[in-house]
């Protein structure tokens, strides 16, 4: 088996095709643990993992916590409301104080892009990025790819449509970085106010003029969360009109390949970026994404610890 040489996992941009394949295949084998009656292995026994979440998160934080616990690591959760952040302590000071308690891994979510690189220069434990600003969300990218691989058995040559606010989406960036490295083609659609300049230069990426164009013959349709509070006043008129042009529904899904996968990183605005019938329908892989999230995060924790599978 190939060797994983990275101490941190901050961005899929920093990983090679082989690194990504290794993480996905490890995740595939981790899934077996999650289906056992006793869902625990001693792999990371004695390791301490701190989940440091500067932004609210339910899914990702819980998923990392369960992943750590299933590998027998001790996990501690810190959220801003209960931490020193509200007392005006800098990120570096918080991290150095946590480091003094000898954690093996810090899993962090932070609103500022690049914060994990900043931290990696200051501390000597492993860092896993659970989302930084609009930069990357590598565990989400990996779990999305694992879910696609479940369906297609491969990740090369897929046509993946990503629809929504690309500019502010770390999920989109991690998927673009990962999928294009593994040989898939990414088609983006969103209002021009939400498509960042030069995004087509990130890999085999095509920016489409309309959502229909992106959906055409797609193997995978990934919808992004639209946030009225973020896209606010200047990026779109309102959720109603957004939904009209960039919402997924039983009609426009027909443009995609028959039985194409429908994905969403959550949380979903039902009736905005996708209709409830799409969320709950046969083509939806959304809950499978969440399920795979635990296995992917187990694989990430396992590899940054440099351990060996029993």
């Amino acid at each position: 088996m190939a060797e994983f040489k990275h101490k941190h996992i901050i961005a899929l941009r920093d990983l090679s095709k082989e690194d990504i394949e290794l993480l996905i295949s490890t995740a595939e084998s981790m899934r077996e643990i999650n289906s056992r009656d006793i869902k625990k292995v001693p792999t990371l026994r004695g390791k301490t993992i701190i989940n440091l979440f500067y932004e609210a998160s339910t899914r990702t934080r819980t998923s990392f916590e369960i992943a750590g616990k299933r590998l027998s690591a001790d996990t501690v959760n810190i959220t801003p409301s209960s931490s020193s952040a509200t007392k005006g302590e800098t990120l570096a000071d918080t991290a150095l104080n946590l480091l003094a308690m000898k954690p093996d891994i810090i899993v962090m979510r932070h609103a500022v892009s690049g914060s994990h690189y900043f931290l990696a220069n200051k501390i000597n434990c492993s860092i896993i990025n659970a989302g930084d600003g609009a930069h990357e969300h590598p565990s989400q990218g990996l779990l999305d790819m694992l879910t696609m691989k479940d369906r297609f058995g491969r990740l090369d040559g897929l046509k993946v449509a990503i629809v929504g606010d690309i500019t502010h989406s770390r999920v989109a960036r991690s998927n673009i970085q990962g999928l294009t490295k593994l040989g898939s083609k990414v088609f983006l659609a969103g209002p021009p106010t939400m498509v960042p300049p030069g995004v087509e230069r990130l890999g085999d990426v095509t920016v489409c003029g309309t959502m229909n164009e992106a959906l055409q013959d797609a193997d995978v349709v990934m919808m992004l969360r639209i946030q009225q509070e973020r896209q606010g006043k200047t990026l779109m008129p309102n959720a109603r009109e957004y939904s009209r042009y960039f919402g997924l529904n039983p009609n426009n899904i027909k443009l995609a390949k028959p039985n194409a996968m429908v994905m969403h990183p959550g949380p979903i605005n039902r009736g905005v970026e996708m209709s409830s019938s799409m969320v709950d329908g046969d083509q939806s892989w959304i809950l499978k994404q969440v399920e795979n999230g635990v296995a992917v995060r187990m694989a990430m924790l396992y590899h940054v610890c440099g351990g060996e599978l029993e």
């Binding site: 990120l91 892009s113 690189y117 770390r170 300049p197 995004v199 230069r201």
Partner: protein, 424 residues
């Protein structure tokens, strides 16, 4: 103390002189230029063979942080950095605490610089009281207290009427208005140039047009009122074009750029390097090319540093939280000499942009080696190679994107008012 600077290549655009000769300084003034001057008794002689001897360099855009923000820089450390970089005069921006919007603060700076500084300091007062953006400062008093210009540098005067009236009022008093051209609504929460790099790094971009719109407004206001205006830190292709066109129409607009805008692109931000974070932000290669073109064809009149010292606590943080700005006094000359090596500027043109034009724009009455004038002289060593290192920088702050890099050229000696203020 009297000085004889021997055998240097004297370049003085004010007299159209370029040749190897000696410069004799007596009682703080230029006494004589000529070949083979004899050293009167008691005169210190400086061998300038292989060096350029030029009118003292002038940096018309410096943040000295004194009063109020002395933990970043003060008048002593800032002027020390200035002479180490070859500058004999600097103009300091008014965003101090308190703001330079009254005689007391202006006088404090002038007096402290005279008593303890290493070079001439000309304060720039604020356009609006307290940099509030809502009413004019007492520009008359500011001028009488020694301010050479007014500017709200660091932020624009957003209210177009107030800007127009300020231009008119300042023209009546005879003080230059320096504009920080930026449309804040387009900047929003942006932290770097909007482009491919911001897309890849997931950082909020600042579109170039935020600067361009403001530059256009300023030139149109100056055209309408028939008054002069100086645009600070020009960084974009379109701003250069707008200023070029305005000049062609006879608008009394001048402008400056800074060395980082003709040497770096937003690629320098990669790695979330906060020492590449400034405002305006580093742009793209097409902008760098346009800045060079503007320098070459005379659209851009001056090179100024926008020396903006910040404490490491303000830079060694997450990218979005880092303060804008970099220090520049000690790296400007080598970086600008690069323009001569590249063939963008002649040496004579470079001296114009780093000395004569700033003096002309702000009416400083410096930048000449004519007999009888104040002996502000810079000796430039064009060949020396040196590495930018934190412990060797005179500035209190070390926020430079060139740390650890080797630069070529620099000040060999800096003479301020006839006194040797710096010698390498």
């Amino acid at each position: 103390m009297n000085l004889l600077i021997k055998n240097g290549r004297v370049i003085d655009p004010s007299q159209k002189i370029d040749g190897v000769m000696d410069v004799l300084v007596e009682d703080g003034l230029i006494k004589e230029l000529g070949a083979g001057l004899a050293a009167p008794t008691g005169v210190e002689t400086i061998d300038a063979a292989g060096k350029y001897v030029v009118p003292g360099l002038i940096d018309m855009h410096v943040h000295l942080r004194d009063p109020g923000l002395e933990y970043k820089e003060d008048i002593i450390s800032g002027t020390k950095a200035a002479v180490a970089g070859g500058f004999t005069s600097i103009c300091c921006m008014p965003n101090t605490k308190p703001v330079i919007d009254n005689k007391t603060v202006a006088s404090y700076i002038i007096n402290k610089a005279k008593a303890e500084g290493f070079c001439n300091v000309f304060p720039v007062g604020s356009i609006t009281y307290g940099l509030s953006g809502d009413r004019m400062s007492e520009m008359g008093e500011l001028k009488e207290s020694g301010c050479v210009a007014v500017s709200d540098d660091g932020k624009p005067v957003g209210n177009s009427e107030l800007m127009m009236r300020s231009l008119q009022y300042a023209a009546g008093i005879g003080i230059m208005v320096i504009s920080h051209a930026e449309e804040l609504e387009l900047v929003g929460e942006g932290v770097m140039n909007e482009g491919f790099t911001s897309t890849e790094l997931g950082l909020k971009g600042i579109p170039r047009v935020a600067e361009d719109i403001a530059t256009a407004r300023e030139t149109l206001l100056a055209e309408y009122t028939g008054t002069p205006i100086h645009i600070a830190h020009v960084s974009t292709q379109a701003s250069v074009r707008i200023i070029r066109e305005a000049k062609a129409r006879g608008v009394k607009v001048t402008c400056e750029t800074a060395p980082h805008y003709f040497t770096l692109t937003d690629d320098a931000v990669r790695g979330y390097n906060t020492n590449a974070k400034m405002n305006p932000p580093l742009r793209e290669s097409a902008d760098v090319a346009a800045i060079k073109e503007g320098l070459k064809d005379g659209t851009i009149d001056a090179i100024a540093t926008d020396h903006a010292p910040h404490h490491s606590d303000e830079k060694d943080v997450e990218f979005n939280l880092a303060m804008n700005g970099i220090i520049g006094l000690e790296t400007s000359l080598p970086l600008s000499l690069g323009l001569v090596d590249e063939g963008v500027l002649t040496l004579n043109e470079l001296i114009e942009k780093m000395s004569c034009n700033p003096s002309k724009i702000l009416n400083l009455k410096r930048a000449t080696l004519k007999a009888g004038s104040v002996a502000d002289i810079t000796l430039i060593d064009p060949t020396i190679e040196w590495v930018v290192e934190t412990d060797k920088l005179a500035s209190k702050s070390k926020n430079s994107p060139w740390l650890g890099q080797k630069l070529k050229g620099g000040a060999a000696a800096t003479v301020v008012g006839g006194k040797l203020a710096y010698k390498r």
